[in-house]
């Protein structure tokens, strides 16, 4: 599509300009996909190149290295010892010893080493095979003269240990590469006649130019152990039949391949696909309304409080901020009961003839039973929850807008509304672009508001979609609350479905974020803000 020059663009009237911009926007969509595709291709290309280079480098190191470097291909840290780096050498050697001991040394009567034993038990990705090999069961015990439970393998454990072993192996390969590289560097440095770093210097550098390693170690270990590992585990679960009946302990679960993913395309009653579609559309709608209603109303409140001539600014703000301080579950559950059939507001609203009739005709006992009313109520109550945050944020940003902008626009004859649309709003939108995205994503996963207001046991909700994923689905359920119910407190818990839906949620959020990051201007340059 032809781009207009700036001069031509200014000649257009408002409507034409709008059309032009709209066209530009839609014409750009294929370009994004091109960009995305090219990005992915480039990524793989770069990865491939990096791997090839890595192998070249290893080969080169082996060919050119002296005997110490060559030996360190087999004995970890040998090169470090050779060049006097005892601390590093010791650590590398220790790692290798532990690894070999763990993987290959048979302990406790099994012919394989511990690592190989767990890997072998897992039957990794062999469709139809169980995770773990020994099924527990009741066997006759002559001592007690009755059947007793003889535990077999626990699939959950087998998979976890297997996964840990795989991670250990990857770590081993990485460490091997690392120490080979270091030996090579040591060799090069000595060849130049310089001295390599001693252990003491290494320790010191951890507080200086390697300081990031010291600071990052704790948080990164936490993230790896409590986020990355469980996520990999959960993704693996999607390929098994891990559920309430196959809980791994009393019944081994097995690998089923992509079988459960088919359910995503099941649009019949109770099908995962139907429920996912319905819930996703409500989730997106909820997120949209929740984000923007809060955003604009919160900004409106902030502008009102900030207006010149309004007194008691601090009081108004403190009143709103107070509501942030009170733990959400207290206020949310209390409000939920206020709107219930026997609650104060619920009763008053129920006496309004129009609402009364509506509830009567549909046999609803409370406002929460009606899908549409409940959805509106959720959004309204969420405004009550969310406005204080936005108000605070907007107040800070509004104060940053240079006052002379407003003054000069007033001299030019702009009224308050024009000032708002031409100065305040564009500035706010520019500055809070990334915030809007995060807040949209947070609302997609807004567990508290939905679950504490409607999803709990106190409020039965209409179950039109019926059951999906082993739990009954309410009208106000978001993907996140649906997932939550799936994994907890259901007799028909299906972890594999939860895992599949989890992956889908991830994809939805990722795609949304990718698109938005490409549109909004203020995310482009991190260093701009400095």
């Amino acid at each position: 599509m032809k781009r207009l020059s700036a001069l031509e663009y200014l000649k257009l009237n408002k409507f034409q300009a709008f059309l032009y911009n709209l066209k530009l926007f839609f014409c750009a969509i294929p370009l994004w996909f091109c960009k995305l595709g090219r990005g992915i291709l480039n990524f793989f290309k770069n990865c491939g190149l990096a791997i090839v280079n890595e192998f070249k480098d290893i080969g080169y190191t082996f060919a050119k290295g002296n005997w110490a470097v060559k030996l360190s291909f087999f004995i970890f840290g040998f090169g470090n010892f050779f060049y006097g780096q005892f601390l590093r050498g010791m650590l590398f050697l220790l790692f290798e010893i532990v690894f070999v001991f763990f993987m290959f040394v048979p302990i406790g009567g099994n012919p394989l080493g511990t690592g190989l034993y767990w890997l072998d038990k897992g039957n990794w990705f062999k469709v139809g095979d169980t995770v773990g090999t020994v099924q527990g069961g009741f066997q006759y015990d002559p001592i007690y003269d009755t059947d007793v439970w003889v535990p077999g393998d626990d699939s959950v454990k087998v998979m976890l240990y297997g996964l840990l072993t795989i991670i250990f192996i990857i770590g081993f390969i990485y460490t091997w590469r690392l120490q080979v590289k270091q030996c090579r560097i040591c060799m090069d440095i000595t060849a130049k006649g310089k001295k390599v770093r001693s252990g003491k210097q290494d320790m010191k550098s951890l507080l200086d130019d390697q300081f990031h390693k010291t600071l990052l170690s704790l948080p990164l270990v936490g993230i790896l152990a409590f986020t990355v590992l469980p996520i990999i585990y959960m993704v693996l679960v999607a390929f098994t039949n891990y559920d309430a009946r196959h809980d791994g302990y009393s019944n081994l679960f097995s690998w089923v391949g992509l079988e459960h993913f088919n359910a995503l395309f099941d649009f019949g009653k109770g099908g995962l696909g139907l429920a996912f579609g319905e819930i996703l559309s409500w989730t997106l709608m909820w997120s949209f309304f929740a984000t923007f209603s809060n955003y604009f109303l919160g900004m409106f409140v902030a502008i009102m409080i900030n207006k010149k001539g309004i007194k008691l600014k601090k009081l108004w703000r403190t009143v709103l901020v107070m509501t942030i301080a009170i733990p959400q579950f207290v206020s949310l559950m209390y409000v939920s009961k206020l709107f219930d059939s026997s609650g104060l507001i619920g009763r008053i609203l129920g006496q309004i003839p129009f609402i009364d009739r509506y509830l009567d005709v549909n046999h609803f006992t409370s406002l929460w039973d009606s899908p549409d009313v409940a959805k509106v109520l959720l959004i309204v109550i969420n405004i009550w929850i969310g406005i204080p945050y936005i108000m605070l944020m907007a107040t800070g940003i509004l104060m940053n807008i240079p006052a002379d902008l407003y003054e000069s626009s007033r001299i030019d004859g702009a009224n308050t509304f024009q000032q708002y649309t031409k100065i305040t709003l564009p500035y706010m939108l520019f500055v809070t672009g990334p915030y809007l995205l995060t807040s949209f994503v947070n609302n997609l996963n807004n567990f508290n508001v939905i679950y504490l207001l409607t999803g709990g046991t106190g409020n039965p909700i209409n179950t039109d979609i019926g059951t999906a994923g082993g739990v009954s689905v309410g009208h106000t359920d978001l993907l996140i609350t649906w997932l939550y119910k799936m994994t907890l407190g259901s007799a028909d818990t299906r972890y594999y479905d939860a895992s599949i839906i989890g992956i889908c949620v991830f994809l939805v959020v990722a795609v949304l974020s990718l698109i938005v990051y490409n549109i909004i201007p203020s995310t482009k340059n991190e260093e701009d803000y400095k």
Partner: protein, 294 residues
């Protein structure tokens, strides 16, 4: 011609003043309305917590008979004190640990440059898109093997709250980004190591963000239902206030526990609101700063 011009100016001047007064009045009315709406539930909860005549929901707000019955029942008949203690311990521990995690992560990402920094940030961004509590399925299994559920659930929960908290580095990174780089450089030129820059130069300047992070960490366990319900749902001994009180408003317990819920809510709110109001200034700084920097 000139005369009419003057009068118009005069008139608009008067009109502007009048219209400003009008708009201000409208704004005052709206603000008072907002205040009423926002405070109504809290007045309600406090008033209902003193109601003696019945434990059920009633169609009027002011109790007919005031008394402390609900509070007395709360401590005598339920495990509330236990839950309250659990939550307080979790709040304090989380405040300390989470601050260490978040500050070190955000400081590194903001002020140190090293290979893989951008990659690490992208990685954590992507990781954050996965619904977090799914990790609890595995964590719960492991914790029950290790004995960190049931009575020990608070310990397990502290680990859950803190372990991955490094991923929430955004707000404090935004803060560190605003401290001029020249400070670091000057200290480096004077021979300070990076540790000394961190400890002696930047940390003393970071009081607001440290307090903000501590405050957030302290408040998290008080309001958390999702994770706590997962780890601590079995035994009353290990619950936090949210999980414990949740059952009180179920269909079966509502009529006997409603006013008690209000009383418990008031008690739960007191420590959090007190801490919050004292540190409000820092909270506001955190929210405004964090939002602007993304």
């Amino acid at each position: 011609m000139k005369k009419t011009n003057d009068t118009t100016i005069h008139k608009t001047g008067l009109g502007a003043r009048a219209s400003r007064r009008l708009s201000n009045t409208v704004i005052y009315i709206i603000l008072i309305l907002i205040t009423c709406i926002w405070l109504f539930p809290f007045f309600g909860i406090v008033l209902e917590s003193f109601r003696v005549e019945t434990t059920q929901q009633v169609p009027y707000l002011f109790p007919k008979e005031f008394g402390l019955d609900n509070y007395i029942r709360l401590f005598k008949e339920t495990d509330f004190l236990k839950w309250f203690g659990n939550t307080a311990v979790m709040g304090i521990a989380t405040a300390v640990l989470q601050t260490v995690f978040i500050l070190s992560m955000s400081y590194v990402l903001s002020r140190l440059r090293f290979k893989g920094r951008k990659g690490l940030m992208n990685f954590m961004l992507i990781l954050g898109m996965f619904p977090g509590f799914l990790t609890l399925i595995l964590i719960y299994k492991v914790f029950s093997e290790l004995g960190l559920t049931n009575e020990m659930a608070p310990v397990g929960l502290i680990i859950v709250y803190c372990a991955s908290s490094g991923m929430g580095y955004y707000v404090s990174k935004g803060f560190f980004d605003t401290i001029p780089k020249s400070l670091d450089e000057a200290a480096r030129v004077d021979g300070a190591t990076r540790w000394q820059v961190f400890y002696k130069v930047i940390m003393p300047l970071s009081k607001p963000i440290i307090i903000y992070t501590v405050l957030m960490g302290f408040m998290a366990p008080w309001g958390d239902f999702m994770m706590a319900n997962y780890i601590a749902h079995q035994t009353s001994d290990g619950m936090n206030v949210a999980v414990g009180m949740f059952e009180w408003l179920s269909r079966t317990n509502l009529n006997t526990h409603y006013t008690m819920f209000c009383a418990a809510g008031v008690i739960v709110a007191i420590p959090v609101v007190t801490v919050f109001l004292f540190l409000q200034k820092y909270y506001v700084e955190g929210v405004t700063g964090g939002a602007v920097k993304g």
